[in-house]
Symmetry: C2
Subunit: 321 residues, 2 copies
């Protein structure tokens, strides 16, 4: 069995782990990222985390073949550089070269969302499929497109940002500055915004009362109130799934991936989300009226959860070793 | 030099040609498709057209290595079958197998728009690029995505239909039955619809007078009236390019192709279309505010015109021979 290091860099914490060639995590270490410190200091912490993860596993350093890094931001995988990340304040951080020298191992650097998508394809929900789009419904809408186990990064490493595909021109303002992005509707933040608007208009609804009891509105408030039979919540959930279906149908029409795997907080609703979503997609997809014999994209749930990034980074390492 | 047969099947006519390995057409024959006749009769005509094209070239049959077919509709390239085409009334037409037996040559069948995209990448505007999206602004909006000279057809051969990506949810009705598709705005038909609406609202405009003189509204009426300085036309052209930019920015954010090549009737406007289009895309693309150092997708014109389909079909043949 061969082993790889996966490194998943987050805004607050970073995780390093030893992962076997099948995608099983053998050990993990978790440290604060402290991205605002000088890059050489961050690098020393990363090396310590990796060394710690190796020590905590029963794997000899000699059996570790490569390191994979999942970093937020725009990444140049060819040179192993984090070109730009606003949240971490990183510019041209040559993390690949530096880690490679320090550990004497080949290093592959990928965008974190893309690495997570690769994890789902090699060791998770989309295992063995020829092409998959991984969609993460969290604070934003993340997307990663994987073809024959290769991440599609575009010619400049900046793909895949389908969260910033406009589905309603001139619509809801997105954090990216555009109006009407898929992310502005289909993210947990989008659902929360819709839920708050509905509560303001329907202060007597069970939805409003539930939010009041809980003291806040989250991505599951509308789903919970729908379970209580609340009409306002039923409408909001339907509207949310409608927007989600709208974006996914466009991706299916354009790319026809074998699978779309859905992860992130909202995906925890499971079939409560997926069953009506599939129904809407079936109705809207190109040629749905008369091309029923065309093979359909499967809509499923991600299975690796927050570990997808770490596992996927290690699997990216597997691909270069 | 090696040679290939390209076959471009249209609703009205089909073209067969002998094409060299560089994408030069040596001879061409053009016959009515007559798609409503039995498939074996259509097939005999296709074989005659191919034989005619070979005879008209100075190429010996022995130097022809393969046949490429570009057919409208949903195509299964693995089995060489036109699964479904509404306009031609074809269902499960095993054209690849039948042609291969008749000509004793390997045959590759592709969707016609995808074949045309391949032509632009191998022998036209996007020659030598790692990835290209070819967008055709005609009656509809065609799209073809080519990665490393391979057409991306999706797992079910039904990609790439980005014309049916919704950019304005609930908006203008598209021929596909959905509302708000990119095609409903960015096609020549979309521009004509916008132009007619503007004429109805502004009957005294130069735009209205020009349309009256010409007796009809076409995809260039608004551009022509803009050249005359007409305010209504200036607004319509701006609005049209705004919609076009909206869809293209989403494709860039998602896929980051090295090049987007624009063809079809509207593309004849050249820089009158492309210069303002690039300006709008630059402003809207993800990270445009602060990631100016990220390599940008080039927006250019297609160069092969209506020959792209024939050349691309032959280049698809080149890939299997």
């Amino acid at each position: 069995m061969n082993y790889y290091i996966g490194l998943d860099i987050g805004g607050t914490n970073l995780k390093a782990g030893v992962v076997d060639e099948l995608g099983n995590i053998l050990s993990e270490s978790d440290i604060p990222t402290g991205a605002d410190r000088p890059q050489e200091v961050v690098l020393q912490d990363i090396i310590s985390a990796i060394t710690g993860a190796i020590a905590a596993s029963s794997v000899s350093k000699n059996n570790i073949l490569a390191v994979g890094v999942g970093s937020p931001g725009v990444v140049d995988s060819d040179t192993g550089t984090v070109i730009y990340n606003n949240n971490l304040g990183w510019h041209d951080f040559k993390i690949g070269e530096l880690l490679s020298k320090a550990l004497n191992l080949p290093v592959r650097v990928e965008n974190d969302a893309n690495a997570a998508a690769l994890g789902e394809v090699i060791a998770g929900s989309a295992k063995g499929v020829s092409s998959a789009m991984i969609i993460t419904l969290g604070t934003g809408v993340g997307s990663g497109f994987v073809i024959n186990e290769k991440i599609w990064t575009g010619f400049n490493s900046a793909a895949c940002e389908f969260g910033h595909m406009v589905i309603e021109k001139g619509g809801r303002l997105c954090k990216c500055g555009r109006r009407g992005c898929f992310e502005a509707y289909a993210s947990a933040s989008g659902l929360i915004a819709m839920t708050k608007e509905a509560i303001a208009k329907n202060p007597e609804s069970k939805l409003a009362k539930l939010a009041e009891q809980e003291g806040h509105v989250s991505g599951h408030t509308a789903f919970d109130a729908k379970d209580l039979g609340d009409e306002t919540a039923i409408k909001i959930v339907d509207e949310y799934i409608d927007y989600l279906a709208c974006g996914l149908v466009s991706l299916i029409n354009g790319l026809q991936p074998e699978v779309i795997s859905i992860g992130g907080g909202i995906a925890k609703q499971g079939e409560k989300l997926l069953a009506p979503l599939r129904e809407k997609i079936d109705k809207e997809v190109y040629g749905s009226g008369h091309d029923a014999h065309i093979k359909k994209t499967k809509i499923i749930s991600c299975t690796l959860g927050y570990k997808a990034g770490l596992i996927g980074a290690a699997m990216a390492a597997r691909q270069i070793a």
